[in-house]
């Protein structure tokens, strides 16, 4: 496999860039693997990569029912940050941000991480107190965070309407300068290529239809391409986690909802940071192509349909214009929905299950993209050692029995 570098670009220029090798193989499934990962999105591919890299396990298959990174990996708004409130979340998301910072070098694939700063706005005295508290909590956990007053917000992002007469005046904001955006497709493709180079079989168009067990222990999976044996199976299927887990009679505390996002027509660079507002319910950044990328909250009802209702988009655009009157004549180009797996405490599950050999990585809900590297890293550890890493130990299934929930609605609610 070619290592990507300036020399490989120069070498391929001689053949007019027509002879670049394929980025990964399309192998036929073998009869049996040590580990099967169900779900070929960012998290699943990252899991396979770190299993191979950190734990030397390479007899792995990643089974994807559609195409790589075609689900939520391709549907999110690409925001990366780690300014979560609670210690458990701050630890795993900060690990993720640190992996992000070296990721392009590590997997030899440009994930286009742009640490342009993420601002979370405060619109009420309650928001201000909560924001300042979060900044202090972040700093205690070694996560960079700053508090900006209204003037500071205006200076950092001049197009925000900070008028005192606004329906929801901007009273300040938290700022994480190391936060930003990354190219979501590159993350899936980069991890896929890096995993494939280490011998991982990536099998697309292969839907899992059953999980076979013998005496309470996993023996493999039934798929649309036949039975494939495995000692360990890791479910990394986001919105479809409950469907897969039910094949092994495991119940999860997850509801699947549509989460919609949309982009505008491309415009000249106008906003060079990420702005989020939980209170007026929108987040905005600008892509390299110039489109404004926006999103907000989930549709209320359960769904697997990858689309939502228009009034949700209407609501978030109302919020957007409240903050950015300058966008009033920008036209929206397209919108879409992804199916997110929400947990009651807005925190994920990266855990063993009551079934031996079955592991679940799910419940990332509305904000899983930023967690992709650490999610894979921790899940690989859990699969390889049959016990969680201290970073993901709190994110177990037992917390719903013991009551040790990690309530991140404040930091995860609308802000993704």
């Amino acid at each position: 496999m070619t290592k990507y570098s300036i020399f490989s670009i120069a070498r391929n220029a001689f053949s007019h860039h027509k002879n670049w090798p394929r980025q990964w193989r399309s192998p036929e499934p073998q009869k049996e693997y040590d580990v099967i990962i169900v779900g070929g999105g960012g998290h699943g591919l990252a899991t396979a990569y770190y299993l191979a890299k950190e734990h030397g396990i390479t007899n792995i298959a990643v089974l994807e029912k559609g195409w790589l990174g075609g689900g939520n990996t391709a549907r999110n708004t690409t925001i990366v940050r780690s300014n979560y409130l609670w210690d458990e979340s701050a630890a795993i998301y900060e690990k993720s941000l640190q992996l992000w910072e070296g990721l392009s070098q590590d997997i030899n694939y440009n994930v286009m991480l742009s640490q342009r700063g993420v601002m979370n706005l405060a619109h009420s005295l309650g928001d201000v107190r909560e924001g300042v508290r979060r900044v202090n909590a972040n700093r205690l956990n070694g996560v960079d965070a700053e508090w900006l007053d209204t003037d500071g917000v205006k200076e950092f992002c001049p197009i925000i309407n900070v008028s005192k007469d606004a329906r929801h005046p901007v009273l300040g904001a938290t700022l994480q300068r190391r936060g930003g955006v990354a190219r979501h497709d590159s993350v899936a493709w980069g991890y896929a290529r890096a995993a494939d180079m280490r011998g991982v079989d990536i099998i697309q168009n292969c839907e899992v239809t059953g999980i076979t067990r013998d005496g309470g222990k996993v023996t493999g999976v039934e798929t649309t391409r036949g039975f494939i044996g495995a000692k360990k199976v890791g479910l990394v299927a986001a919105g479809h986690s409950s469907v897969l887990a039910s094949m092994a009679d495991v119940r999860l505390p997850i509801d699947s909802h549509p989460l919609q996002a949309l982009v505008s027509e491309p415009i000249k660079p106008v906003i060079d940071c990420v702005v989020m507002s939980g209170a007026v319910h929108v987040y905005v950044s600008q892509s390299d192509k110039g489109e404004l990328v926006m999103g907000a909250g989930i549709d209320s009802f359960n769904s697997y349909g990858q689309r939502g209702s228009f009034h949700v988009i209407e609501h978030q655009l109302g919020a957007c214009l409240e903050l950015f009157p300058i966008f009033s004549r920008v036209r929206m180009m397209r919108s879409w929905g992804g199916i997110v797996d929400t947990c009651p405490d807005a925190s994920p599950l990266v855990t063993k299950t009551p079934v031996e050999g079955l592991y679940v990585n799910a419940g990332w809900g509305t904000g899983g993209f930023k967690a992709t590297p650490a999610s894979g890293w921790c899940f690989a550890h859990t699969l390889a050692r049959d016990e969680p890493h201290p970073l993901n130990a709190p994110f177990n299934l037992d917390r719903f029995t013991t009551g040790a929930l990690i309530d991140e609605h404040g930091a995860a609610g609308v802000a993704h």
Binding site: H240, S242, V243, S246, R251, L252, P253, I254, D255, S256, S300, F301, N302, S303, Y304, G305, S309, F310, H311, P344, F400, T401, T402, G403
Partner: protein, 98 residues
């Protein structure tokens, strides 16, 4: 946008309603006898059906009544609505992919 048929008011737009999640989760008869894992199952574990799903809706900006509905979670099609305390009109609760 969903068009939802309230059993009392007829078809109205989704914006008039609030969602109540999975239906028919019976409150424990004797809560004091429940183990922690039974509580977890009651409070947190959900069926999250892909297919025809029994769920609750609340006509918040209308008659302010709760009711149940059967809806397909992929096509979003409503199969039927029925009042609280009633059984589903069709016994199709289960995952039937479409």
């Amino acid at each position: 946008m969903l068009l939802i048929e309230c059993p009392w008011c007829g078809k109205r737009h989704e914006t008039e309603f609030r969602y109540g999640g999975e239906a028919h989760i019976a409150r424990p008869e004797k809560p004091e006898d429940l183990s922690d894992s039974e509580w977890a199952n009651f409070l947190f574990m959900r069926t999250n059906t892909k297919g025809v799903f029994a769920e609750r809706w609340y006509h918040a900006n209308g008659c302010r009544q709760w009711f149940n509905a059967l809806r397909h979670t992929v096509s979003h099609e409503f199969i039927g609505v029925y009042k609280m305390g009633e059984k589903p009109p069709v016994s199709v609760q289960g995952s039937e992919d479409r």
